[in-house]
């Protein structure tokens, strides 16, 4: 392969983490109204895509994202890293989408880019269903390898080290294919000043559900086949004793383990 067309799915998520996320009190969906950022988990996919395109002897990375309110700040970060362009699907009809509807939208958008390789993260930081990568693969009729921790291009196939319970499997997969990569696979580059400036001029194609030929009733809250009924506090685990080490705290651990009859 002398030109590899890589699509990287990037999710744009609220800044912060699970300790700062807010749920909408009625829908119980995650509030995604404010400024969104590039999911850190996807920065590995972007870096991997850029490296593989180079490894293949040439190529380009196209980003695909579904996000509310025409949000592009996360996309700009990935464009500044070196991606060539982006496809953004943003449509009020998509609010409340479940993972399968999201996969349908992403698959339809990916198809337009005619990829040789599709890269996603293994799971998003805010949704973490981890099923979207395979759902996309099935919808596109492509093979997939999830939990990739090392990827090399080998002509018209890629070789992947896939994590397993015991270690890893080496898996070969012909292109086009979908792979999901784990955090830590590569070191994501920091966008350079030049990259940030260049990103401002890179094309972001914004699409609506209708542009993808999807039925609005099959996506968003209308198409969701699941609902959150309530969110309640879990039984709290009480904090126990806190000891500041004065040089003999290890003895406290020994006493505690003895009391539990572990030693």
């Amino acid at each position: 392969m002398d030109f590899m067309n890589v699509v990287v799915c990037v999710k744009q998520i609220p800044d912060g983490d699970q300790s700062t996320y807010k749920l909408d009190p009625t829908s119980h969906n995650l509030v995604r109204d404010g400024k969104l950022i590039l999911d850190d988990s996807d920065s590995y996919g972007v870096e991997m895509g850029l490296q593989l395109a180079e490894q293949a002897g040439g190529g380009e990375v196209t980003l695909v994202s579904m996000a509310p309110n025409s949000e592009t700040s996360g996309l700009r970060t990935a464009l500044a890293m070196g991606a060539a362009r982006a496809i953004l699907v943003s449509d009020a009809a998509l609010a409340g989408s479940d993972a399968l509807s999201t996969a349908k939208v992403l698959a339809a958008a990916i198809k337009r880019a005619g990829p040789d390789l599709v890269i996603t993260a293994t799971e998003s930081s805010d949704g973490y269903t981890g099923t979207i990568p395979v759902q996309i693969a099935e919808l596109l009729g492509m093979p997939s390898v999830t939990f990739s921790k090392k990827v090399t291009v080998n002509g018209d196939k890629v070789t992947v080290e896939r994590q397993t319970e015991e270690g890893y499997d080496e898996v070969e997969v012909p292109l086009p294919a979908v792979i999901s990569v784990t955090a830590g696979v590569v070191e994501p580059r920091y966008p350079s000043f030049k990259g940030i400036m260049a990103a401002k001029g890179k094309p972001v194609e914004e699409l609506k559900v209708a542009d993808l030929g999807l039925d609005a009733a099959s996506v968003g809250a209308a198409g969701a086949g699941q609902e959150i009924t309530s969110v309640v506090p879990a039984e709290a685990r009480k904090a126990g004793e806190i000891v500041v080490d004065e040089g003999d705290a290890y003895q406290q651990i020994i006493n505690y383990l003895e009391q539990l009859k572990v030693i």
Partner: protein, 320 residues
Amino acid sequence: MALNSVWVVVDRSGDKVASVAFELLTKAHEIAGSVEAVTWGDASGIADRVGAHGASAIHTVGDLGGGLPGPAVAAAMAARIAAGSAPDAIFLAQSYDGRDIAGRLSARIDRPVLTNVVNLSDDGLATEHAIFGGTEILNARFTGSGPAIYVIRAKSFAPEESGGGAAVVDTWEVPDLGAAGAARVVSSHAEETEGPKLDEAAVVVSGGRGLGDADSYKLIVDLAKLLKGAPGASRAIVDAGWVPYSHQVGQTGKTVKPTVYIACGISGATQHMVGMKSAKNIIAVNKDQEAPIFSISDLGIVGDVKKVLPQLIEALQKRG
């Protein structure tokens, strides 16, 4: 309405049946009228244990010929469903292959998936999910019709034998997978491990970024060995390449429920806590008194792991 029939996907890693499969079978047997297992590879050797945990039948898609389980198992199940023998629910483990099968099946039969399930209601129609590090429980359920696909976290249910005889083995044909089935496993690599398995050990000693460097993980290994436990890790040091991924505890790693969990130099991120919060006793060593891990610890030591751990190891060695 409750669940009449449930299929449980029996996860295998190599020739071994994953322990989570028995947990799911037990729960299915408890709440459903009929339980059938679905797996891949040769099922004759596991039919008795699968039957003892409540399944009347075990269907296998047969030898995968080097392919991954996801496409084959999903396609075989989808074909059965299309032919009119849909179960009310399908239980899968939140594991590599479990998620692959669930995702493919979901797209094939156009039904969503509920993932990260930690409990089911008695009628099997509503799910519980631990969110925000296990501080909140989110309740959800499916709407619409068709099989409910549940991807369930390990250690959510206790395995228990119900005394059934061996499950009846048969083979489910796999339809032509086309390109979707084209991935091939060329070789498998197992990491060498000694001592108890991480998700079965009574004592787990885990290290995090607070260890400072890869070499200091030896403190964790030594302490685990002295306590006849297993060494674990936070994702931070797995990502950094200090230890293999198989050591990772948490949302994307293993769920552990030991008698004692000792967290060393681990801050207590929500994604870590969700994998160890159910330990019976938690000890934490962290130099930052504000570290979130202390909020769930029974014994919290505010101190330097590089001082406390060598002292602890030495004292334990002296006891012999």
